[in-house]
Amino acid sequence: MHISEGVLSTPILAAGAVLTAAGTAVGLRKLDYDHLMTVAILSAAFFVASLIHVPIGPTSVHLIFNGLLGAVLGWASFPAILVGLLLQAILFQFGGFTVLGVNTFDMAAPAVICALLFRPLMLRGGRSRVIGAFLCGSVSVLLATIFTSAALAFTDEGFIHAAEVLAVAHLPIMVAEGFFTVLIVGYLTKVRPDVFTSTYSNQFRRSGDCAMEER
């Protein structure tokens, strides 16, 4: 879900840049050098994962995994997604410098919001894990779509129809994303439950957050 360069208006570009700068500042402040390596390698893994084609009927889609990223990295999602998008710009020329702020915010803000909302549910186990993971995956794409469409729609009246089509086209991805998040979270909690705690809990040291670690 990229908006390319030269499309958005100045106020939207500026707002995106400011919000992303703030989010990245928070993310970097909460990260110590001990966890930087984990964040770098996990964001590389998410970068690789988002390039994989998932067949749906006659076509295939790329998943975004920003919900899962949020659940694993917390506020560090902002710098992780910023770096991922910068690399996409440099390696594939998707997006560029001026839209970096808007594109990062569109994906990182939903990641953080969904992590805060659904992560506790996700780590509880049983049916609530399935529901939490599905919501985390699908709502993060829903919010990302809403933010992207809003950025287009607020730029100029003329973009409203394009924004609507963009939003509708992402509906199947929302479902696929939720479904995949459920499967991946299920696998990870069995094999490597500390994926969800090592970086995240470092940022939010509260009693409830470390339930997985204690278990």
């Binding site: 030269g6 499309v7 998932v54």
Partner: protein
């Protein structure tokens, strides 16, 4: 999977100090992106095309260049389907039930010019450096060190983890896995992706420990030294003059 087809070459733009190129590209793309009239972006596109020719991209990069331009213009084409018809204004043409407006067409042209101008400048100035030297250039330009660290390490590990992911997929393929629209495919893909994350986690811990062992304390010393020569100053001056002209055009609403 991930190669940098434009980063190899022997032109001035390939050899120039990445700090100068980065500064020029960021400044020019910001000015072009906020331009309200099509004159600036048209000049920008011309400048971008000149830079691309000047960069003398190797012959084997020609196809990737076209593919990248096509990918960006795909989004622009998507906007062309809607913009002329959904922008209110004077009627310019009527296609059946749809009316294209003059304002809508003008906006679509503006967006197309801006996108392609920034893209060409980006390709000529940024894609001609590899990501590692850009990371070092960002470090010298006072980008927060933690962000540069993340950038360099993510770049480094994309290749490693990409290899690992391919190894897992090859293993699945050898066992007769063919992706289809089925629950089995999704379960397999999800497990493979989860394994990629698990592998990444393990690797992160190993790398962190081995770097601690080698006395890593959070900052890189780079052996590479950048030098701003006469050519770089000329490039920066040209970019600055061009930027001032574009801003003047924008302010004067030409």
């Amino acid at each position: 999977m991930i190669d940098e087809p434009f980063a190899t070459g022997s032109s001035f733009l390939h050899k120039a100090d990445p700090r100068a190129k980065l500064t020029a590209a960021v400044a020019l793309s910001c000015i072009l992106a906020v331009s309200p009239s099509p004159v600036g972006p048209a000049l920008g596109l011309l400048a971008g095309a000149v830079c691309l020719v000047w960069a003398g991209l190797p012959a084997h990069a020609g196809r990737s260049l076209l593919r990248r331009l096509a990918a960006v213009n795909g989004f622009v084409a998507f906007l062309w389907v809607f913009l002329p018809f959904s922008t209110p204004g004077e009627t310019a043409a009527v296609f059946g039930p749809l009316t294209a407006t003059r304002q809508g067409l003008a906006l679509a042209v503006l967006v197309t010019l801006k996108t392609n101008a920034i893209m060409c400048l980006f390709l000529a100035l940024i894609a001609t450096s590899d990501a590692a030297s850009l990371g070092q250039a960002m470090h010298r330009l006072r980008v927060p060190p933690k962000l540069v660290f993340l950038f360099l390490f993510t770049y480094r590990f994309i290749h490693v983890i990409g290899d690992e992911q391919r190894r897992l997929f090859t293993a699945a393929k050898l066992r007769g896995f063919t992706p289809r629209t089925s629950l089995h495919t999704y379960k397999t893909l999800a497990s493979l992706l989860a394994m990629v994350l698990v592998g990444a986690m393990r690797r992160a811990e190993m790398t962190r420990r081995s770097m601690l062992l080698r006395c890593f304390h959070g900052s890189f010393g780079t052996l590479r030294s950048f030098r701003l020569g006469l050519g770089e100053y000329a490039l920066l001056t040209a970019a600055a003059i061009f930027a001032i002209c574009l801003s003047a055009l924008e302010v004067l609403h030409v």
